[in-house]
Subunit: 410 residues, 2 copies
Amino acid sequence: MKPMGTIPAEFSHAPLRIAGESAEHWARVAGDTPLFVYDFGVVAARVARFRAAMSLRVKLHYAIKANPFAPLLDAIAPLVDGLDVASGGELAIALQRKSGGAISFAGPGKRDDELTAAIIAQATINLESEGEWNRTLALSDRLGLRPRVAVRVNPDFELRGSGMRMGGRATPFGVDADRAGALIARIRASDADWHGLHIFAGSQSLDTAALIEALTGALALAERLADQAGLSPPLVNLGGGFGIPYFPGDLPIDVMAIGQALGAAIEQSPLAGAGCSFATELGRWLVGECGVYLTRIVDRKQSRGETFLVTDGGMNHQLAASGNLGTVVKRNYPVAVASAESDAPTETVSVVGPLCTPLDRLADRVTLPVAHVGDLVAVFMAGAYGVSASPTAFLGHPAPRELLVGIAGG
Amino acid sequence: MKPMGTIPAEFSHAPLRIAGESAEHWARVAGDTPLFVYDFGVVAARVARFRAAMSLRVKLHYAIKANPFAPLLDAIAPLVDGLDVASGGELAIALQRKSGGAISFAGPGKRDDELTAAIIAQATINLESEGEWNRTLALSDRLGLRPRVAVRVNPDFELRGSGMRMGGRATPFGVDADRAGALIARIRASDADWHGLHIFAGSQSLDTAALIEALTGALALAERLADQAGLSPPLVNLGGGFGIPYFPGDLPIDVMAIGQALGAAIEQSPLAGAGCSFATELGRWLVGECGVYLTRIVDRKQSRGETFLVTDGGMNHQLAASGNLGTVVKRNYPVAVASAESDAPTETVSVVGPLCTPLDRLADRVTLPVAHVGDLVAVFMAGAYGVSASPTAFLGHPAPRELLVGIAGG
């Protein structure tokens, strides 16, 4: 038997209720399984937690890449101060919800057509290199438009305890800190609108102290660069990296402590007095826990003494939960049998998807209430990097349904 | 500097030619980058190699999951004896190219609607469990049709040296060998058409001796089960698992040796005298080496002394090449700068895609001819489990183009 992660407190289970209704209810609403159900109440609670913890000076940006489902974007856009996009495709859907001034575009491989779209929309282009600046300038000249640009800095530190380290080393992201000053000077010597700095040290960290260190380290780096430039940046995007507890033993971060420490650092910062704004960009932390993936048991079988529940969806929709997206060791996301009562007898089973590959395993030897063909299995923590980060065409199965629920009045 | 795999001999390079044309030619034909170019000449050569090596008694099935691109299916279907499918979606596209009698459907999570489609099409259902047999029987009764079924057996041995082991252990695939006899008896006691056995021990093995052992082991297992049943199976699908050399140090398998050993074992088998047919199902080995992924360099940048070529496609189209599909350690697929001449000066670079994640790396610190923004990078071994096994919606980038080239007269 292997342990699994903890089911988010927002979901009452045994039996599972999502926004007050059963899993079967949502499967009927969607028309078929598998499906993702996103409870917007959880997202709104995360936004409220952020606002309660953070200084009013710290703006909240949503990183669309975590979950670009259109109804979710419609609902979250009014609650956040900006949208961060990572491609021309994401820019297009962001512009349907926010003006260009509230959108920033980061990403190491921006094509000319993507830069052109951002220049026209007056979105902030987070420049990843000197070469990207040269292309932006040339395209802006051709368009006769003034680009709005920020400099993405590859910080000289990393986010400790991070699932994805992006600073403190050679990376394709941003301009090394020791070259950022020269690029800022070149931008200021042009007629471009220099919008500030973007400093991102890593993602999915559950270490509160490390997050405080990274955010205050980004602030200190911004102060040094402002000193060099002799000018305060209009906006400093301090990054994000707030993790969520997927796995056994994981504990949530202390956002209140982060807010207090960052607020105190900002109070003392010369940038605060100079009228600089600050932002953090969050994706996973805002939406990851709102999602439940529901998949129906198609077969229940024994092999060499082990029991397998075979479901109608798997790694084709939930690549990360199957342990195939940037993880070395397969650990179990929290899962549940949706209809099971709390006193149901339990057994040890593996939950596997329908694909003809041993990689397609949603839960490895977990203890669950006894389940049968036709029952729904719920995989939690499915709100971020789920369907959009999965190979949905793999083996020719249908795409999953998606539902946004729990909207006040909706 | 890290090594990379060997470029398949069919592609002359420095500069690269695919089916006699340059990479830029194919990018123009496709209309944009990134794109997959599949050279059908390579596929036809693999089919010919198989036919030259194998006994005429061994049929060749193509496993669609390796590459379901419609023009490729159109071209390969006439060259193979059967198509193996893994979902209702794949069944539908297979039926456009072969009759149901030449199609077999394996997969541990077949839904009732998929079983129904297979029963109506008279495709062979490779039963994965006793429960699936019960559902097949009930659905057939309701339809008033006679189902054609084979029993997928979880063999009591594994394919050594296999990237994906599927036998010799508890798995969701097939019925354990010691229970297969009882299931065959139940099928024969019904009025279903028992079509034989499906025995699949693993995939992507480069160990010729292990492949011979697995194929002859499957034959021996089929003999034991035929003995128990007192009846020779009409068809024994012996599996496949033929690997291709992706990585440094990998060597191709010796198909001639496999054909000789398997042929000799079949000659001596009582099943051969009893009129049994045999098949192997191959996907990756037939099409994996035919594909070249072409992606354009959008940026060239330095970070802390390392050089990065940032391309317009990456793990969103080539998840396996980025090391994020079932591999623990990132090793380099063969890559090339498409336009480079043989005597070009070289340098050590990493090739990274456009996604905002450090996972998006197509080649890690390889030595390549010096390349510039606008040049095309070729990633070889891209014909199998490429676009269909990748998260194409990730971060909102466009889907890649696909081209089938090198068709005689086409």
